[in-house]
Symmetry: C2
DNA sequence: TATTGTTATACTCTATAACTATA
DNA sequence: TATAGTTATAGAGTATAACAATA
């Protein structure tokens, strides 16, 4: 008997919805949808060697990823080039303008998050973030082992 | 610059999906879907004075709630009775068998959650849960004030 | 007339299954 | 033949609008 008041899952879902709802207008002002941002962020640290890998990294399947990539490519934010080593694969990478927009978005998101977390004392906040990240990895690992 | 590695929203969404995915088979074994469980849980502490309130409490709108209530009522897990004071309203409450099943589900969910959290040291775990609940309330309040 | 619950319709999102090209 | 990407179709989930009962 832990005295937990709510279910963990319900609380996570509730928080997710609240945070996403708060983030959407911030991104919309930059002309970016939530899933655009997820894809751009996934490419921030370097190109994806195939669309399949990018889909796995972002939690979408390949078919749902395509219209997003189409849109972002049409806006000149990323490039899809066939991999010379295996021309079935498309290497996906940010353009300069994509890198710039991604940084702008991320800064805006971080500012918002700081505001959302402002009600927590500083040390509690950092401890929370640390545990949260650790838990996300732990649970992902458990699922992987299913 | 906080040194956060991932976006808060992305981490919450990732965790939500992982936890829900883990919970679904546990509930399915009891013949309960996720949204059934959300509704049953909302009624655990007492009847809802109208379906509209129940919808708000569970984050569904009234139209989406109805088929769920139909199903649970047909299974004899809850009752919808017109409020004598205003017969437009339906009071929704668990039957005895609904109360029993809800308790069984909740116990199963709590067991699963304990397993998911088992990788965290005890004191870190309780601190995390405390902050999580507090943050959920904080952010809900901020949204309410929009 | 306004509101609760209900039903019916339309729309969006997601998943499944074919199709093209490379290997 | 197998795989990456793409396109097309079908299905589930969600939202919008009309309807009946009550106030």
């Amino acid at each position: 008997m832990t005295g937990q008041r709510h279910d963990l899952g319900a609380t996570f879902v509730r928080l997710s919805r609240a945070v996403v709802a708060a983030e959407q207008p911030v991104l919309a002002e930059l002309g970016v949808e939530m899933w655009d941002y997820v894809v751009l962020s996934a490419l921030r640290d370097g190109p994806a060697h195939s669309q399949a890998r990018l889909a796995a990294a972002t939690g979408r399947d390949t078919t749902r990823l395509i219209p997003i990539l189409d849109r972002l490519e049409a806006r000149g934010l990323l490039r899809r080039t066939p991999d010379p080593a295996d021309r079935r694969n498309r290497i996906v990478e940010l353009t300069d303008s994509g890198t710039e927009l991604t940084a702008t978005c991320q800064a805006a998101i971080r500012t918002l998050e700081a505001r959302l977390l402002a009600g927590l004392p500083g040390d509690e906040r950092t401890a929370f973030i640390t545990t949260l990240e650790r838990l996300a990895e732990l649970i992902s690992a458990q699922r992987g082992a299913h």
